[in-house]
Structure formats: C-alpha cells, structure tokens
C-alpha cells in the first residue's frame, strides 16, 4: 500500500469504511458527511489533483447512488478513488466546489444527470439539462429509458449580470459564422477590455454516456471513436485500455507501438491545425496557408497508412486492426519533410512582428488559476503545469521511449503556440523511435467476453488527459463515464480573456483549442 493511503487512513481511521484495490486503483468508501474534509485533505495536504468526479446508479444492487472522486497520484502511477453512498430518499451530498474549484462542472453535471444535489454549491444552476427540460427527469438514472422524449416546459436561464456605468453586454452565439459547433459567449465590457465572460455550452448534448449503456461492447469502441472527431484515436485507445484493464489483458508489443504511432500522428496534425488557426485569427494568411498545407500533408499520410484521414477504425479491444509496419519508410520520409518545413514555418512565424505583437501577453492563464481549474494538456503545460499522462501514467509503449515534456511558464497565447510547436517535434521523435524498435508479433489478442469489473482508462490526447471509467456486467457496459480534456479547459477561457480586448477573443479561443463535441456529450 502506498504512503498516501496510509496517511489518509491514519488521519481519518474509522471514517474510512472500506478499502478495496483493483489494478492501480484504490477505492476508499467513506462517510458522505466527511467528503469535504477528506477531499480537502487529499487535494491540499497530499497535493493530488482531482481528475474526475462521476456518479453511478447502483440502486439495483444496494438501493443507493454512488459518487466517485478520482485523485491522480503520479509518484506511484496510481489512482485514489473516494466513494460515497447516497440514499435515493435523501439525494443530497455536500459540495466540494468551495474547496476545490475544479469540481464545479462535475457536481452540476451529476445534479442534472442523476438528480443528486450538491449542497452549498456556489452556482447551482442547471448545466446540461436546459430550462425547457422538465424538473425531476434525470437521463443517466437507470429507470430513464433511452427512448423517452420528455415534454418541453417553460423556463428561464439567468445569466450573471455585470452592472455599472458604461458596461454593456455582447452576446455571441450559439450560432456562429463559419462551420463550428454551437456555444454561447456573453461578454461584459467597459470600453475595450472584457471585464467578464460567461460561457454556456451543451447545446448539442447527445447522451453519449447513456448510449454506451445500450450498445454491445464490440460496437462501443466505434462510438468512443466518434465522440470528438479530431481526437478519435485518443478516445478509442482510452476506451480500449479501460476494457483491457478490466479483462486483465496485456496487448501484444507490436500493437502498443502502433498505438503510440497513431496517437502521435494525431497529436501532430492537431497541433499544426491549431497553429494554422492562430495564424488565421490574426489575419496572417501566409502562415495559415502554409500551416494548413502541412496539416493536409499529415492527413494524407494518415490516409495512405491507415485508410482514414482521421486514423479511424484502427483500434480494437485487444490491439489494433491493421498493420502499418510495412509503411515504415514512407512514414519516416514524409515526417522528416513535414518536420523540416514545419521548423522553417515556425521560424517565419516567430520573426513576424505583426503576429508576435498579437500573441505575446495575450490571453494569460496564470498558474494558480490553471491549477485551481485543473487545466490539462498543452494549455496547462503552457501555464507551468508539468503534467503529461504519457510520462505520469504511462500507457501504450511510452515507457520505452525518450521524450521531453514541454513546459512554459508564461501562460499566454505565445506560450501555448510554442509548447505545441515543440510537442510536434517531440512527437516526430517518438514516431521515429517507435518505428525503429517496432517488435515483430501479433497485432491483437482475441477477446470474446469481457468479465465483470470496473477500471479507469487514461490517455494524453492532443488536448490533454482523457479519462474513461467503465463498469461492465454480464458482457455489457453498465456505466461509462467519459471525461474529455475540454470539459476541464472550457472554464479557463473565462479567466483567459479578462482584461483583453474583444478582437483578441478568437485568438485566445483558438489557442486553447477547445472541443465542443467532446464537451457536449
């Protein structure tokens, strides 16, 4: 048992009702009344971040709902999961948001999806169920049938108001110009600078988690793959990893290498696309055109190698479906050309004053804000958070390779651009290492049945850590919690834009590279 579990037990002794361990996850069942104190202790005293909070409906088993608080422990590559039980008749529990800010959206999500009320939450408005959704209907409860069409009701959503002389509001969206997804942004400005921004999302909430419970496991991997279009590989891999952990499978080394290559190819085209977007938003069309050309080169390489531009259909539970080893020389050659051109492009970009003027010191996310909101991925790393799942909770074949985790402290758009640019080069290095050391052997192990159990899957997607928690029962998915990195990062935009001018908002938004689709699940 690791030292942190020991400290928790010592500090709370009889209040820890039950301890169970599976894989590298330790589940501590605790009293609901003490959850705030315990989370506060683990978060502030032991300094472990909360990476996910989710609820499960276990009324069929013991008549109660459970809420899980997942803490990540990098030192031992372990997870500590606190679990509280909530009785159906008294669906209330104490909110931890006042102590741990990153719990905000999770608790509101649980309130909407399960009808469990976080008492003392500073902002108890609805999050995912909109005002026209009837009260008392909670989609993720087991007694809610997937085909239910609840009637629309009247209701109103109250936005935060900023008042004062010369303060006016600019509502943007949910329908935007251009082909992007819906989201509402409400700016309050006094003159040029933004003094407040409130975002509203979940316009396209699709009920993905409910859908998981209603399809067979072999088909579910394709659903995971389609949660967030440009993070297809990351979602599919995370889902497969969770399933493989439940089944106690060790996938063949060749499959691990191929997964690593696919994940890094995905990171490369995403990061280049983000840099292209930043160039577009400062109207530097030369840089944008060249970056988009490079992105297209990667997409075409993907298509030649895997048959799909977005690398879809490659992963399956137990390994990968196609071999890419025969394309080694082609991948290496294409990537070396892309890397050479990309480096030159980055030199151009950093020597263009009209671009640098716009991105330096713009959209700062300070380290304490980033830490408080648990901002993940390259955005977090650009704000000084040295956290990367590839190194901290290694999966696939990352343990065998050398790579640098790029961290910058500035926290502005420029820092995020540089972190991404450097990560592209690291990714190319990783693919080279994986291809040079590609082991011979099978591509997949056959999986007929997944035993009953539960496990966490974790992966560093281009946008940051992606987490799946899956419970299976009778070869079916009982509960599948998906935590996309954008779910953590969206709120940081409310802080990043403060004191910036409205015309800089698109650049800040682009530099955070937030997914609507991954968020509005």
């Amino acid at each position: 048992m690791n030292s942190n579990i020991g400290s928790i037990k010592k500090e709370f002794n009889t209040n820890v009702l039950e301890v169970s361990t599976s894989h590298n996850e330790t589940y501590l069942t605790v009293k609901k009344e003490l959850i705030v104190k315990m989370c506060d202790y683990i978060y502030h005293h032991l300094d472990l971040p909360v990476v996910c909070i989710f609820a499960t409906d276990e009324r069929k088993i013991d008549g109660s709902f459970k809420i899980h608080y997942v803490f990540s422990e990098v030192k031992d590559d372990a997870f500590i999961i606190l679990r509280i039980s909530i009785d159906e008749k008294n669906p209330k529990y104490p909110s931890i948001t006042n102590k741990i800010a990153s719990a905000n959206w999770y608790e509101r999500e649980i309130q909407d999806m399960f009808g469990l009320i976080p008492q003392g939450h500073p902002d108890p408005r609805r999050l995912m169920n909109f005002e026209d959704w009837p009260a008392g209907v909670h989609p993720l409860r087991k007694d809610f049938d997937i085909k239910t069409k609840p009637p629309r009701v009247d209701g109103e959503y109250i936005y935060r108001r900023v008042e004062g002389e010369g303060v006016y509001e600019i509502p943007v969206g949910p329908v935007h110009a251009g082909v992007i997804e819906p989201g509402h942004f409400r700016f309050s400005v006094a003159g040029e600078p933004i003094i407040n921004l409130e975002i509203r999302h979940f316009y396209t909430h699709k009920g993905v988690e409910k859908l998981f419970e209603n399809i067979s496991i072999d088909k579910a991997v394709f659903l995971a793959e389609r949660i967030s279009g440009d993070n297809s590989v990351a979602h599919a891999v995370t889902f497969c990893q969770a399933m493989e952990k439940i089944a106690g499978l060790d996938i063949p080394p060749r499959a691990k290498h191929i997964r690593t290559i696919l994940l890094e190819l995905e990171r490369i085209y995403n990061h280049i696309a983000d840099i292209a977007g930043i160039a577009t938003d400062v109207a530097f069309s030369f840089g944008a055109a060249h970056a988009n050309k490079l992105k297209e080169d990667v997409l075409q390489l993907n298509e030649r190698v895997t048959g799909s531009r977005l690398l879809r259909g490659m992963n399956t539970i137990g390994g990968v479906r196609r071999d890419i080893g025969g394309r080694k020389d082609e991948i290496l050659l294409s990537l070396s050309i892309i890397q050479r051109d990309f480096r030159k492009l980055m030199e151009h970009l950093s020597s263009t004053p009209s671009l640098m003027d716009r991105i330096e010191t713009t959209g700062r996310i300070y380290n304490d804000i980033a830490k408080g909101l648990h901002v993940v991925g390259p955005v977090g790393r650009a704000s000084g958070i040295d956290r990367d799942m590839r190194r901290d909770h290694p999966y696939a074949a990352y343990k065998e390779f050398n790579f640098k985790v790029i961290v910058s402290k500035a926290g502005d758009v420029h820092a995020r651009t540089i972190v991404r640019a450097d990560e592209v080069c690291e990714s190319v290095g990783l693919i080279e290492q994986a291809l040079w050391s590609l082991p011979e052997g099978d591509l997949r192990v056959k999986v007929d049945k997944i035993p009953d159990g539960h496990a966490l899957g974790i992966c560093e997607a281009p946008r940051g850590e992606t987490i799946y928690w899956i419970r299976t029962s009778g070869n079916k998915i009982e509960r599948c919690k998906v935590r996309d990195p954008s779910f953590c990062n969206w709120l940081s935009i409310e802080y990043a834009v403060l004191d910036n001018i409205v015309p800089d908002f698109p650049i800040i938004n682009k530099s955070l590279s937030l997914s609507y689709s991954g968020n509005d699940m």
Binding site: I215, D218, K219, F222, L223, R226, F286, H290, K293, E296, E303, R304, T306, G307, S308, R312, G313, R321, R322, K344, H348
Partner: protein
C-alpha cells in the same frame, strides 16, 4: 517580406485539378462497401455492423440483403466478419446523392 515572397513562389500551386482530373484514393482506403454474388445470406455482417445499416428483407419469394451508405461509418467490420469475401470496402468515395434511396445497395436471391 522578401522571405515570404520567396517561400510563396517556392511552394507553388498545391491544389489539384479535382474534380476535372479524378483523384484516386490510396490503396487500403476505407470507402464505399460493396456486396458481391459470393454472399450466402448468412447474416454475419448484420450482427457486427455498429450503426446497423445492413439488413434482410423478404418479399414475394425473394430474399434481399441491403446496405445503406447513409449511416455507414466505413469501419470495415463487415469485411472482416464475412467468411466468403462477399463484402469489400472499395476506394470509391464520391457518394453524394439527392435521395436516401439512391444510397442503398442490395443483392437478391430467389427463395
């Protein structure tokens, strides 16, 4: 500025002449699935299709296996599951059509 001009000239024209000149997808591309006469109507592809766009119909002494490209996700599981090599993903990707009916392909057999 000069450097930008130089790079622009060097990059040249990157776009292709598509659709005037056909753009052929690479080998191994996951495109339109096609069913051939080898089909034995065993129904294995129906079981594995994630979006469920392959189905049987029986009408006036005829058995029909149909596949709709409308919901197809081009995952290639039908190809993998078919023991007779009757269903294959092709390099065809130009699937746009004005009606949903045009996007259904079927093979028939007399009962």
């Amino acid at each position: 500025m000069l450097e930008i001009l130089r790079k622009t000239i060097k990059a040249g024209c990157q776009t292709t002449k598509y659709p005037a000149v056909p753009d052929i997808a690479p080998e191994g591309f996951r495109g339109k699935p096609e069913i051939s006469d080898k089909c034995t109507f065993c129904g294995d592809c129906i079981k594995v299709c994630p979006p469920g766009v392959i189905w049987f119909t029986e009408k006036s002494g005829e058995k029909m296996l149909s596949l709709s490209y409308c919901g197809c996700i081009f995952c290639g599981r039908c190809e993998e599951a078919c023991g007779y090599g009757a269903i294959k993903l092709t390099q065809e990707y130009e699937l746009a059509s004005k009606t949903k009916e045009d996007l259904v392909t079927s093979i028939r057999r007399k009962l």
